[in-house]
C-alpha cells in the first residue's frame, strides 16, 4: 500500500471529496425536493395531498375548467407583461441617467430610488392602498384597465431592480465605443441604438426576467391593491388553500413553474444565439 496514489486529490479538487459530494447532494435535496413533490402530487389521484393513489390529469382539467382560476392566471400574466415592459424601459432610462450624468443631489436620488428594494413589502402595500384610495382611483373599470392600480404598484417596486441590473452592466461599457460611433458619423440616437443597446442586451434580458418573476409571484403588495374583480393567481391560490390544499393548487403551481422555466430557457437561448452567431447587427 502506498501513500501516494497515481492521481492524488489536489487541494482545490473539491468535487472529488466524498464529504463535499454529500453536502452538495443534501443541498440539492433541500432545494428541489419540495418543488418535485409539488409537481408530482399534481398528478395524484386523490382529494388529499398525503398519500399517492395513482396517476391522473384530472386536476389539470379541473383547474382549466375553473373559470375564476383561469381569469386570475390571465390577470397575473397581463400585469406581469405590462409591468415588465414599462419597468424595463423606465429602469433602463434611470440607469443611463445615473451612469451618464452628474447632477446635484445624485447620491440622494440614488438612495431614494433603491428604497422600494429595501422597504418591507407590507409597508409598500399599505402605502399603495392608502394612496390609491386617497386620490380616488376609479374602481369598476373594464378589463384590462381595472388592473392599472396593481400594475402601477408592481412597476414601482420592480423598476429599481431593473436599474440596479442595468447599471451593473453599464459599468463595463467602454465609453470610447460610443465616441467612436459618433466619430464615424452616428448621431446620439444612432449611437445609442447601435452601440449601447447591444451592450446592454444581456442586462436587459436578465432585468426583464427579474421584473416578470417579481410581478408574477407578488402577493403582499397585490393583496392591498387588488379588488374583488382583480384577483391575481397568488391571491387566488391563497384563497383556495384556506379551505384545503387540493391537487388543483398543485396543478396550477406546476403550470406556473413550467411557464417560468420556458421563459428563462427562451431568454437564455436568445442571449446565446446573439452572443455566438455572426449576424448583421446593423439596421439603419
Amino acid at each position: 500500500m502506498s501513500f501516494r496514489s497515481n492521481n492524488p486529490i489536489g487541494p482545490l479538487d473539491y468535487s472529488r471529496r466524498t464529504w463535499m459530494k454529500l453536502i452538495l447532494l443534501g443541498t440539492f435535496v433541500f432545494l428541489y425536493a419540495p418543488i418535485i413533490t409539488l409537481v408530482a402530487f399534481s398528478f395524484n389521484d386523490s382529494r388529499r395531498n398525503i398519500v399517492w393513489r395513482g396517476f391522473t390529469f384530472k386536476y389539470y382539467e379541473k383547474a382549466w375548467n375553473n373559470s375564476s382560476l383561469v381569469e386570475a392566471f390571465a390577470n397575473s400574466l397581463t400585469i406581469a407583461l405590462l409591468s415588465t415592459l414599462i419597468s424595463v424601459v423606465l429602469g433602463t432610462m434611470t440607469a443611463i441617467l445615473l451612469w451618464r450624468f452628474r447632477f446635484p443631489g445624485k447620491a440622494g436620488y440614488e438612495g431614494l430610488m433603491s428604497l422600494p428594494i429595501v422597504i418591507p413589502e407590507i409597508c409598500l402595500g399599505v402605502a399603495m392602498m392608502a394612496f390609491f384610495s386617497r386620490i380616488g382611483w376609479p374602481s369598476g373599470l373594464h378589463w384590462p384597465l381595472n388592473l392599472a392600480a396593481i400594475t402601477i404598484a408592481h412597476i414601482s417596486f420592480s423598476f429599481p431592480f431593473v436599474t440596479v441590473v442595468i447599471r451593473a452592466r453599464l459599468a463595463s461599457f467602454n465609453r470610447e465605443l460610443e465616441e467612436a460611433a459618433k466619430d464615424l458619423g452616428a448621431g446620439e440616437w444612432q449611437a445609442f441604438k447601435n452601440i449601447l443597446i447591444p451592450h446592454m442586451r444581456p442586462g436587459l434580458i436578465a432585468a426583464a426576467l427579474l421584473a416578470f418573476t417579481l410581478s408574477l409571484d407578488d402577493f403582499v403588495i397585490t393583496f392591498f391593491t387588488s379588488g374583488p374583480d382583480t384577483i391575481t393567481l397568488p391571491i387566488k391560490i391563497y384563497s383556495m388553500i384556506r379551505f384545503s390544499v387540493t391537487p388543483e393548487v398543485n396543478a396550477v403551481s406546476s403550470v406556473l413553474i413550467a411557464v417560468t422555466l420556458i421563459m428563462t430557457t427562451l431568454a437564455l437561448w436568445f442571449q446565446g444565439r446573439n452572443g455566438n452567431q455572426p449576424e448583421d447587427t446593423f439596421h439603419g
Binding site: 465616441e179 464615424l184 452601440i195 447591444p198 451592450h199 446573439n274 447587427t281 446593423f282
Partner: protein, 371 residues
C-alpha cells in the same frame, strides 16, 4: 532666444489645421493653456509630452468631444466651434481601439459608411479596399474577440480611413502593443500615411515613437507647447531645458556668461567644471543652462586632445543595454556625467566601476538653453 524656427519641408503645402490660442479649463485647472499650431496637408504630426500635459485634451477638442473655452480651431479653414463630432471631417483611432465587439470586422469598418446611408455597392467596395490597405483581407466575418491586439488596431485604422478623413487623429495608438510589434507598426504607419496621403496627428508620450514616425513634433508641458520642430532638430537643438531633458538623455549644468569673444564665442563660467568657451551666435548675459548628449561624450584613459573639453574622474556605474552601454563618471570637480558608448564590436572594451579615466566632448556639441 532659442533656435530659429526653420521652415520645414511641408510649409508650402496648404494649411489643414489651424489651432489658435486654444484654452481648455476643467474647473480651475488649465488642461490646455493657449496653444497655437499650424499643421499642413499630408503631414505626419506628433503631439508629444508627459501624461497630463494636455495633449489628449487637445486631440479630443479636434475630434469634437471637448470644446475649447477660448481660441479657435479651424479644420480646412472652417471654424469648428459648433460642429458636433459626427459632422467633422476628422476620424480617430482610439487608445482602446474601440472596435465594436458585437459586430464583425466587415461591419465595424462599414459602420461609418452605413450610418450616413452610403449605397451598399459603395460600402462593399470601400470596405474591401480599406481592409486590404491594412492587410486584413479575409478577416471579414471575424468577431473582434477572435483577433489579436495588433489586428484589432488594424480594424480601428481601417474603420477610420474608410471615411477618407481630412485629418486622422491617433490617440496613443501603439501603447497597448508589445515592443516588437510596436516597432513594426511604427514603420507600417509611416508607409500607410505616405500611401494614403492623409494628414496624421498622433498623440504619444513615447519619444521614440514620435521621433521615428513624425515629420514634425510639438512637445507639450502643462498645457503649453514648448517647441515645434522636426525630430532631428528637436533632438539636436532643443530650445529649452524641459525639451532637452524630456527627449532622450542629457547632461545638464548651469553657468554664468563671463564675456564674449570674436567669431561667435561665448565664455561661460560653470559652477563646478570651470571656465568653458563655446560657440554661440547670439550675445547672451546672465545665467544659462548648458547641455550635452551622452553619446557626444568621449571616454579615454589619457587626456583628450586640446580641441576638446576634458575632465578627470572615476567611473561610478556602468549600465549595460546590449547595443549600448551607459557609463556614469563622477568627475573630480563634482558633477556626474553620463556617456553612452556604442558596442560596435563583440569585444568592445567596457570600463569598470572604480576606473580612473578622462571624459570630455567637443565644444561645438554643447547646447545653450534658456530656462
Amino acid at each position: 532666444m532659442g533656435i530659429n524656427q526653420k521652415t520645414h519641408f511641408m510649409a508650402d503645402r496648404p494649411v489643414i489645421l489651424q489651432i489658435q490660442q486654444v484654452v481648455k479649463r476643467f474647473g480651475n485647472i488649465h488642461a490646455v493653456n493657449g496653444v497655437n499650431l499650424t499643421i499642413h496637408e499630408g503631414e505626419f504630426f506628433a503631439l508629444l509630452g508627459p501624461s497630463g500635459c494636455g495633449k489628449t485634451t487637445l486631440l479630443r477638442m479636434l475630434a469634437g468631444f471637448e470644446f475649447p473655452n477660448e481660441g479657435s480651431i479651424k479644420i480646412d479653414g472652417e471654424e469648428t466651434k459648433d460642429i458636433p463630432p459626427n459632422q467633422r471631417p476628422v476620424n480617430m483611432v482610439f487608445q482602446s481601439y474601440a472596435v465594436f465587439p458585437h459586430m464583425t470586422v466587415f461591419d465595424n469598418v462599414a459602420y461609418g459608411l452605413r450610418v450616413v446611408k452610403a449605397p451598399p455597392e459603395e460600402v462593399q467596395e470601400r470596405v474591401k479596399d480599406a481592409l486590404a490597405l491594412v492587410k486584413l483581407d479575409g478577416y471579414n466575418s471575424r468577431k473582434p474577440d477572435q483577433l489579436s491586439g495588433g489586428q484589432r488596431q488594424r480594424v480601428a485604422l481601417a474603420r477610420a480611413l474608410v471615411k477618407r478623413p481630412r485629418v486622422l487623429l491617433l490617440d496613443e495608438p501603439l501603447s497597448a502593443l508589445d515592443a516588437k510589434l510596436r516597432e513594426a507598426m511604427q514603420l507600417e504607419l509611416v508607409k500607410l500615411q505616405k500611401a494614403v496621403g492623409i494628414t496624421f496627428l498622433i498623440v504619444t508620450h513615447d519619444q521614440d515613437e514620435a521621433l521615428s514616425m513624425a515629420d514634425r513634433i510639438a512637445v507639450m508641458e502643462n498645457g503649453v507647447v514648448r517647441q515645434v520642430a522636426p525630430p532631428r532638430e528637436l533632438y539636436e537643438s532643443p530650445n529649452c531645458k524641459f525639451v532637452a531633458d524630456f527627449i532622450g538623455r542629457m547632461n545638464l549644468f548651469s553657468g554664468i556668461v563671463e564675456g564674449h569673444e570674436d567669431g561667435g564665442r561665448l565664455k561661460v563660467k560653470t559652477e563646478l567644471l570651470g571656465k568653458l568657451t563655446i560657440y554661440y551666435n547670439e550675445k547672451l548675459n546672465g545665467e544659462l543652462h548648458l547641455a550635452v548628449r551622452p553619446e557626444k561624450l568621449r571616454i579615454s584613459s589619457e587626456i583628450l586632445p586640446p580641441s576638446h573639453f576634458s575632465f578627470p574622474g572615476e567611473i561610478d556605474a556602468v549600465v549595460y543595454h546590449g547595443s549600448k552601454t551607459h557609463v556614469y563618471l563622477k568627475t573630480d570637480a563634482g558633477p556626474l556625467l553620463c556617456a553612452t558608448l556604442t558596442n560596435i564590436s563583440r569585444s568592445s572594451i567596457c570600463p569598470k566601476r572604480g576606473d580612473r579615466l578622462w571624459i570630455g566632448w567637443a565644444p561645438e556639441d554643447t547646447l545653450v538653453l534658456s530656462e
